[in-house]
Symmetry: C2
Subunit: 335 residues, 2 copies
C-alpha cells in the first residue's frame, strides 16, 4: 500500500466554486449495492483507492434517503432513521467530517436527515448508500453541479463502495491509476435483468466482531494468499462483464460465488484468522450446494459478515421461498 | 504441475537387489503424524513429489503395526484391523500395488496384516502410518537394507505424508528438486518436547465428501490464491524450525494454526468451493479463539476434514479437558 500525499480536501477543493451558495433544502436517494466482484484492499486509505476494480448490482428502491436543511443555528444535527445521533457518535462525526469537505469554512449549521429503506438488520451495509445519498444531496444543496464521475469519486472518499451507489443497475467501479483518484470512479452497465433476484438470509444481526475496514487492513497486512487477490478480481471482472452482457445466469452467479469465497479465503488466511462465518452461515452454504447438486440454479455471495445473499432468477423463486423460510427477496430491476 | 517420465518402479528398481530373498515373516511399526506445516499440492502425481516442504509431529505409539508373512499359496490376503479386505477394495488394491513394487515378478503369495492403534474414527489419516509401516516391513521381509532416506522416499510413493511417518518426534520433509525424487525425503529434528500435547476433537467420522487427493488436485487447478501457498509454506517452515529449536510454544502453535487456516483458504477459494468444515468445526474454532483471548495458550491445526487437533502444553491440559468433554489427548513424546 503506497500512501500519496493528497488529502480528500485537496482533491475536492479543485472542483468547488470559490464561494458556496446554499439552498433552503435538498433531498437525494441512493441505492444500496451488493458486489458480485468485491472491493477488498486499498492502495490509499485516505482516498479509499482500491487495489482492484469491482462490480455490483444496485438494489432498486432499497437504500438511503438524505435531506439537508438549515438548522438556523451554529450547531449541526444529524438524524438517522428519525433519531438524533449523539454528536460524539461515530456516525455523527463521520457525516459531519464529510459535509465539512464541501461546507469548508462556511459557518452554517445544518440538519442532515438520513432514512434507510434497507430491510432492518438484513446484513446490508448502509455506508455505501448513505455516503452516495449524502454526496448527491450536498451537490444539490450547494448547487455544485458536479459531473457523475466526480460524484462517484467524492462519494468513494466517504466509503469505498459508495462510488458504486451513485448508479442503479449493474455498476462497474474502475480502480483507476491516478494519485488523486479522479479516475477511480464507477459507471453503469447497460444491461437490464428483470428476472434477477437477490435473496437475503440473515444469520445474525449482531455487531461484527471486526469491522470491514479493520478486516481489510489485517488481511492485506498478514495474509500471504492475498497477493493473488487483485489478479483474481481482474479476471473475475472480465467474466462478469461478459456474463452480464449475455445474461448468462450460471456464468455470472458462479463467478460471483467464487469471488466471494476467495475474498473470505483471504480473510481466513489472515493472522489472527478472520472468520466472519457463523456455524449457521456454513449450514446455509451447504444447503445451497445441495440444492445446486439437485439442479436448482442458486448461488450466493457474502460480504464481510455472516449473512448470505442468494442469487437466483424468478423461475426458482417459489422453490427457494419454501426452502428458506426467512428469505427476504429483492428485485433489483423491479422498479 | 510438471509430470516427469519416471514411474515408481523405475526409481525403486535401482535400489533393489537383482533377486530377492524373503524371510518367514517381518513386522514393523510406524507412527501417525500431524503436520504443523501442511503438505498441499504436488509437482508430480506419480511419485507424490510435493510443491512445498512440510513439517510434522509423530504421535508416539499411535500408528500402524504391519506384519508380512507367506500365504503359502499364490493368492494375497490383506487384513486391516483383523478383517480380511475384499480383493477388489481400494485398500487391498493399493496395498498390493505397493507390495508389487518390491516383490516384482516373484510369485510368492503374501499375507499383509495391518492393525492401527489410532483412536477409532478420531479423524487421523492412517495412510501415512500405513504406508510407512508397510515400507519398513517390506524392507525387513525382503532384507533390502535400505537407508532411512530411501525408506522415506519409497514410503512417499505410497502416500506423500508417509515419508514423514518413518520417524518419531518432529519430522521435516524436504520437498527436493530431483526428477526421481530421491532428495524428496524426511529427516528427524533433534528436539524433544515432553510437555507438548495434542488434543483430538472429533466433529464427524463420516466419510469425507471429497478425498484429500481430489481436493488437492481441485485446489491447485482452480484456486487463484493457491499460487502463493508454496511461498507461505517455505516461510512457515523457517518459523517452525526456529520455534521448535527454542521450544517457543506460542510461536510454534500460532504458525501451525496460521498454516492450517491458509491451507483451508486455498480450498475455500477453489471451484467448486471445497469446505471441509462443518458448522460444529466452526463452533470449536470460535471456542478456541475465545479461550485464547482469555489467556489460555491453545491453538489448533486441521487437515482436509472437519476435525480439529488442539495444540497445547501439559499446564493447560486440565482446563481444556473441562472445556472440551470429548478431548482425546495424545502425548507425542510420552513413550
Amino acid at each position: 500500500m503506497i500512501e500519496n500525499c493528497l488529502s480528500k480536501a485537496q482533491v475536492i477543493n479543485r472542483y468547488l466554486p470559490a464561494t458556496l451558495t446554499a439552498k433552503e433544502h435538498a433531498t437525494a436517494f441512493a441505492p444500496s449495492n451488493i458486489a458480485l466482484c468485491k472491493y477488498w484492499g486499498k492502495r490509499d486509505t485516505e482516498l479509499n483507492l482500491p487495489t482492484n476494480s469491482s462490480l455490483s448490482i444496485s438494489l432498486g428502491h432499497l437504500g438511503s434517503h438524505t435531506q439537508i436543511s438549515h438548522s438556523h443555528s451554529n450547531i449541526d444535527i444529524v438524524r438517522l432513521n428519525n433519531k438524533v445521533q449523539d454528536p460524539q457518535s461515530s456516525f455523527h462525526l463521520k457525516v459531519i467530517a464529510f459535509v465539512n469537505l464541501f461546507r469548508r469554512s462556511q459557518t452554517i449549521g445544518l440538519i442532515i436527515d438520513t432514512r434507510n429503506t434497507i430491510p432492518t438488520a438484513a446484513g446490508l451495509a448502509s455506508s455505501a448508500s448513505g455516503f452516495a445519498a449524502l454526496m448527491l444531496a450536498l451537490d444539490d444543496f450547494f448547487d455544485l453541479q458536479l459531473a457523475d464521475q466526480q460524484l462517484s469519486a467524492f462519494a468513494r472518499m466517504g466509503s469505498g463502495s459508495a462510488s458504486r451507489s451513485i448508479y442503479s443497475g449493474f455498476v462497474h467501479w474502475e480502480m483507476g491509476e491516478q494519485l488523486d483518484g479522479m479516475d477511480s470512479v464507477a459507471h453503469q452497465l447497460d444491461t437490464q435483468w428483470p428476472n434477477l433476484r437477490i435473496g437475503l438470509i440473515k444469520v445474525s444481526s449482531a455487531q461484527k466482531p471486526v469491522d470491514s475496514r479493520t478486516g481489510m487492513d489485517r488481511t492485506t497486512a498478514t495474509s500471504n494468499l492475498y497477493q493473488n487477490w487483485p489478479a483474481q478480481a481482474a479476471a473475475d471482472l472480465i467474466t462478469l462483464d461478459n456474463a452480464i452482457k449475455q445474461r448468462d445466469f450460471h456464468a455470472m452467479a458462479a463467478c460471483a460465488e467464487h469471488n466471494a469465497m476467495s475474498m473470505h479465503a483471504t480473510m481466513i488466511s489472515a493472522w489472527p484468522p478472520l472468520v466472519y462465518w457463523l456455524p449457521e452461515s456454513l449450514a446455509v452454504m451447504q444447503r445451497v450446494w445441495q440444492l445446486r447438486e439437485s439442479g436448482v440454479a442458486v448461488y450466493f455471495t457474502m460480504d464481510a459478515g455472516p449473512n448470505l445473499k442468494l442469487l437466483f432468477e424468478q423461475s426458482s423463486q417459489a422453490l427457494l421461498e419454501t426452502e428458506f423460510s426467512q428469505l427476504d427477496i429483492i428485485v433489483p430491476f423491479g422498479d
